[in-house]
């Protein structure tokens, strides 16, 4: 009984996601791209890096990168704490 309800819910959820994929703009033809055009034009002159992706990762969105490094650090610390030797 419960399984049937969950199955129906899953199917409806999946169809909603498919609807979102169909309503999304055409693949490969972005409508708005001001932000990315700005990056592609000015990244070299502002940050001096040839690799636009790296200049976004470390300069324009540097705080995200800090958070991402923090996530990795948190996971490593958590795993070390999880497998620590217990010395009461």
């Amino acid at each position: 009984m419960k399984k049937i309800i969950f199955g129906i819910a899953f199917i409806i959820f999946f169809s909603f996601l498919i609807v979102s994929a169909i309503n999304m703009r055409q693949f490969g033809e972005p409508i708005f791209s001001e932000m990315d055009d700005y990056f592609i034009e000015n990244a070299q002159s502002e940050t001096g890096a040839n690799n636009v992706v790296t200049s976004i990762v470390f300069d324009y969105r540097g705080f995200d990168t800090l958070g991402e490094a923090t996530v990795l650090f948190a996971a490593a610390v958590g795993i070390i704490a999880l497998f620590r030797r217990v010395t009461k």
């Binding site: 693949f27 990244a43 992706v53 990762v57 990795l72």
Partner: protein, 115 residues
Amino acid sequence: MIGNFPYIAAIIFIGLGIYTLMFKKNLIKIAIGVVLIQNGVNLFLITLGYIKGAVAPIYTYAPSGQIMVLPTPQALTLTSIVIGIATTALILSIAMMIYKHYGTLDTDQVRRLRG
């Protein structure tokens, strides 16, 4: 419609992951489901950045006179991939701990906390 097939492929990844989370009874399989959802969402993000016939947004020895794909989704996907690695590692090690203490990975037995 058919032009949006890449999005639908990403959505199918997400759906498979959700199905695994809902109906699979093994903790390792549940971790695999989480990874599937992550890959689907990353695929969705990276697909949003593509432009037909464009090259990678890197100026070093780039082919001249070509437009470049949108760089932001690549940065976002890089971030979320690393986050996914961290999440997966933590889930798997906690599953190892559960196996050490419970001696099983079946979700029907790993439910001492209920009620």
